[in-house]
């Protein structure tokens, strides 16, 4: 940990990422502090002569609307952006946790189980790794009934299609760990495989799985943004950054701020999480320090 803290990129990333998590967690409070909510239309702030572009400079930024308003509807952008952080981070974190859980389960089962279990599970992991994630996610999300809870569904779909990597890493590490003397000692003293997996193997898996999961988080965020961009993410009026960027494709000529605000936030958030992942990797896995320098 001390090594990670000496890393400037990691520090910057960690602070920014924590800030973003805080923003997402306190979204209702922040919106209330700004005196706005994400659903109220403000037609009076739009230039109807120019097709609904916000009045004023920089997308209608003012004391009332800190980041301006949305073109076409006049909804407050600050409120929409902070609530959007909730979706983006919530789905990504949820999906990552699920992926790690499934991956750990399948990976340790493959690594500790017999030859047959290993063969079958490894085949399964290969199949999952070969799936066209984006295409399948779009199709899956489109066929479920619209009244199911959307963020939960998004996280589940992303996780169900994306746990292959964690499982592969876990299996590899487990295969190495199980040959260690202390594992043999535990076995000889009569511990069952489940106990061995929990008490002897799991601690050894922490570092490699953590570094991998740290990189999975921004990857999942990109997937969520992409799905929202394509219109199969959360349902309006719930805002999300990908969805805003999607509607920005029709507005960017008249109102470039509508691209920069959600786009910039998405970029900064992703960058900070990547920096955190990078710093973690350097600190926890010195062998791989070359990979992402």
């Amino acid at each position: 940990m001390r090594r990670a803290l000496r890393d400037r990129g990691f520090l910057f990333g960690a602070v920014a990422a924590l800030l973003m998590v805080l923003v997402a967690a306190t979204a209702p409070l922040l919106a209330a502090a700004a005196g706005q909510d994400y659903t109220t239309y403000h037609d009076n702030l739009l230039d109807s002569a120019r097709g609904g572009v916000p009045l004023g400079r920089f997308g209608g930024i003012s004391g009332d609307h800190w980041l301006g308003v949305e073109p076409g509807t006049g909804r407050d952008l600050f409120a929409r952006v902070v609530y959007g952080a909730q979706v983006s981070l919530g789905v990504a974190i949820g999906a990552t946790i699920l992926e790690v859980l499934i991956g750990l389960l399948v990976g340790t089962a493959a690594g500790l189980g017999g030859r047959w279990a290993d063969t079958i599970l490894t085949r399964l992991v290969d199949l999952v790794l070969a799936l066209p994630i984006l295409v399948l996610a779009i199709s899956l999300l489109a066929i479920v009934p619209p009244d199911w809870p959307r963020p939960l569904l998004l996280a589940t779909v992303i996780a169900v299609l994306g746990w292959g990597g964690t499982a592969r890493i876990t299996r590899g590490e487990t295969l190495t760990l199980r040959t260690r003397d202390y594992v043999a000692a535990a076995r000889l003293s009569g511990a069952g495989w489940f106990r061995v997996a929990r008490r002897e193997i799991l601690p050894g898996l922490t570092a490699p799985v953590l570094t991998y999961a740290a990189l999975l988080l921004p990857t999942n965020m990109v997937v969520e943004a992409g799905l929202s961009f394509l219109g199969v993410g959360v349902r309006p009026p719930t805002p999300s950054w990908g969805q805003m960027l999607s509607s920005a494709t029709t507005w960017f000529r008249a109102d470039p701020m509508y691209v920069f605000i959600p786009g910039g936030l998405l970029f900064l958030t992703l960058l900070s999480f990547v920096l955190v992942a990078n710093g973690l990797r350097r600190a926890l896995d010195p062998r791989q320090s070359e990979v992402l320098r």
């Binding site: 199949l127 295409v135 992409g226 394509l230 494709t249 691209v259």
Partner: protein
């Protein structure tokens, strides 16, 4: 070698079979009934039964799946009113929405996605290997930093964000390029390339960083090997060492990666196609998904699955073909 070939292709077919089973089961067990949607408002129960029969969704799922497989391999006949119409293999059924054969729809859209993927791949290979080689030879320190920065940023920029910014800069501010519309290469190659330039760049940015990183690492590794030292001791010119030996060793892993990435780009081009409004396979999927046009959704997903599995198989063979150290078992 022949044995390996048979086993590898057999394995690939097995994966595809599994994928088709999974897809078919999932989509046709889905809670949204396409027949109700097709039938529309004011649908009588008799009319609904008719529609279900015409769409072939009144059989048990297992029978439907058997018909689906039969259509893929040998073609099948569909009831169309009093007559039947024949759908030749590989048959993926008819679109619920437009009533066109799905295979024809896919073939119609494929050139756009292929143009997009190949152009982006070529662009990122050229830029990535160039930047990676320069960084690996430690000619320019700043380049090394740029490559590293790009690798990090590459994880952090979704392709549609890059696309939006490119449109904003080159089409709105500078007005150097027209807004992309697809022009077939057979009509006008120049317009084809001009219109696809921005989508190519948007797709290539991330890939370029990955290739640059690989090339750089590969070159540094190869330059440290004994045979390079020997070549230097023989007094071979440095340029010859770099071009003939170091670069060759560094590019080996890229060969297989290219095959896999080409398929990956084609499948992830959904976003790029939607972003730039290009009528490719990805856009077909997004449209079909909104209409719950199941045959088209299954068709596109199967096609991407085939592409990825095929690319992985080709990559394995290429790997053995370019690297004499690899033995096929």
């Amino acid at each position: 070698m022949i044995g390996y070939l048979v086993r590898r292709i057999g394995g690939a077919l097995l994966v595809l079979f599994g994928l088709s089973l999974l897809l078919y089961g999932l989509f046709y067990l889905a809670p949204s009934d396409p027949a109700i949607l097709t039938c529309g408002k004011g649908c009588t129960p008799e009319r609904l039964a008719e529609v279900r029969h015409a769409m072939g969704v009144d059989d048990p799922v297992a029978t439907q799946y058997a018909h689906f497989l039969q259509g893929l391999v040998a073609g099948r006949d569909y009831p169309a009113g009093p007559a039947t119409r024949h759908c030749p293999a590989p048959c993926l059924g008819y679109s619920f929405e437009t009533d066109q054969p799905v295979t024809a729809l896919l073939l119609d859209r494929l050139p756009v996605s292929v143009s997009l993927a190949i152009g982006a791949e070529v662009l990122s290979l050229v830029a990535g290997i160039g930047a990676g080689a320069l960084a690996g030879l430690r000619r320019y320190r700043w380049l090394d930093r740029v490559v590293n920065g790009l690798v990090l940023a590459g994880y952090a920029v979704p392709v549609f964000l890059v696309g939006l910014l490119l449109l904003l800069i080159f089409c709105v501010q500078l007005q150097w390029l027209p807004f992309p519309t697809y022009v077939p290469i057979t009509t006008d190659p120049l317009a084809w390339a001009q219109n696809l330039l921005l989508p190519w760049v948007a797709l290539a940015v991330i890939q370029t960083a990955a290739y640059a990183r690989l090339t750089r690492a590969g070159i540094q590794e190869t330059l440290a090997e004994d045979h390079i030292r020997t070549a230097r001791a023989y007094g071979l010119p440095e340029s010859r060492i770099v071009w003939r030996r170091a670069l060759r060793g560094a590019l080996l892993p890229l060969v297989t990666l290219t095959a896999i990435d080409l398929a990956a780009i084609m499948t992830s081009a959904v976003l790029t196609e939607t972003m730039f409004g290009l009528p490719g396979v990805g856009q077909l999927l997004v449209g079909a998904v909104n209409q719950i046009d199941l045959p088209v959704v299954v068709g596109v997903t199967m096609l991407t699955g085939v592409l990825i599995v095929a690319a992985n198989t080709v990559a394995d063979f290429l790997y053995a073909a370019v690297d004499p150290r690899v033995e096929l078992r």
